[in-house]
């Protein structure tokens, strides 16, 4: 089938501002949008720039706006978006070139959440594992699925308003450790989250939940963080 792709193009060395270019390629309905992009880059215009890595929905590199919705190009099939596909870079982050955005502000916010296990207590007697029950593990299972693709953060109206807002992905990183029974950095993280750019900037628009390619219930998880700050309950 013939597929027409309308792609946002921007080369900082040539263009004052971005523009769109149309390409027509032959693709199967079971092809992914990433395959279509590869066809364009391989056969139509080698200067097209986009990120990709694993191509299997795990690395989160190829998040972009496909027909106005944030999605991973490698997980979106042509049959699901039709024969006329509009592809744009993620919103809210500076475009570096074509479909590539500057992820620095996104990862800066992520790092502010102290996204690692904090535990200064002595190791258990056997010197090996800090044990955890299946129920305790299940408490934060949902947010361990995050692949940091930024689809949620760049779908968030609060993040569009200001990139100072930590954003849903950073809050997911916080959630993953705040509710981990082995972690001892909860108070530090909750103090960070209670800042002006923390959870209070989330106005439950639910865009993040819709955008997440991993199906994480992000807004619900942010709600759990808010309730933890009010009630102090972590179970």
């Amino acid at each position: 089938m013939e597929v027409t792709v309308r792609i946002f193009r921007y080369d900082p060395e040539k263009d004052q501002r971005g523009h769109y270019e149309n390409y027509t390629v032959e693709a199967h309905e079971t092809d992914r949008v990433l395959d279509v992009l590869e066809l364009v880059k391989g056969h139509k215009d080698g200067s097209l720039a986009f990120r990709r890595s694993c191509a299997h929905g795990v690395c989160g590199s190829d998040a972009m706006r496909i027909n106005g919705r944030n999605a991973l190009a490698c997980k979106t099939l042509v049959r699901d978006v039709g024969t006329e596909i509009k592809i744009e870079p993620l919103l809210g982050l500076k475009v570096t070139k074509d479909l590539i955005v500057d992820m620095e502000p996104f990862f800066d916010n992520y790092k502010k959440m102290l996204p690692y296990l904090i535990n200064e207590s002595p190791l258990p007697v056997d010197g090996r594992e800090r044990l955890q029950s299946p129920e305790q593990r299940a408490r934060f299972d949902e947010t361990t699925k995050c692949i940091l693709c930024a689809a949620c953060t760049t779908a968030c109206p609060s993040f569009w308003a200001s990139e100072e807002y930590y954003g849903p992905a950073a809050l997911m990183a916080a959630h993953r450790f705040v509710f981990d029974s082995r972690d001892e950095g909860t108070t530090q993280r909750l103090e960070i989250l209670s800042e002006t750019n923390g959870t209070v900037r989330c106005h439950t628009a639910y865009n993040c939940t819709t955008a997440c390619p991993r199906g994480i219930h992000i807004t619900e998880a942010i709600g759990e963080l808010k309730m933890a700050m009010v009630t102090g309950k972590l179970d």
Binding site: S133, S162, S181, H203, M229, K233
Partner: protein, 136 residues
């Protein structure tokens, strides 16, 4: 497995979090007060045989002599209800304005100024509203 609950000092309970909780509380409070007001009005109307228009008239012009429900007047309870509704609505509304401001303005100084202005306005507006209601 003992439940994990953080003491209040370790929850990162800041002004922002307090206002977030306050804003949610005021929504429920407003719904409660509005429902109480509606039920009160229905009870009054059933006792006096007043119509919906009379009830509305009573609600907005409670002290006018020509009010068909003038004999009921605005009781102390009614005044307290209206004061409560005004205060929670004012608190909820001004905090909403502050939320929108904070979404777009990230400068610390501008945020502090906006907060001071909005809180001053909320306190002043509440005092004036309470005075007007009590003197009605």
């Amino acid at each position: 497995m003992t439940p994990r609950t953080l003491p209040i000092k370790k929850r990162g309970f800041s002004f922002e979090v307090f206002m977030w909780a306050f804003t949610r509380f005021t929504v429920f409070a407003m719904y409660g007060l509005i429902l109480a007001g509606i039920f009160g009005a229905l009870i009054v109307s059933s006792k006096t045989g007043a119509g919906f228009g009379d009830i509305l008239y009573w609600a907005f012009f409670p002290t006018l002599a020509e009010n068909p429900l003038g004999q009921i007047g605005m009781t102390v309870l009614a005044k307290l209800m209206v004061i409560s509704l005004t205060l929670v609505a004012c608190g909820h509304g001004v905090h909403g304005v502050l939320e929108i401001w904070d979404d777009y303005v990230t400068n610390e100084g501008a945020r502090r100024w906006a907060r001071n202005i909005v809180i001053t306005y909320a306190v002043a507006a509440s005092i004036i509203a309470v005075y007007v209601i009590l003197s009605a």
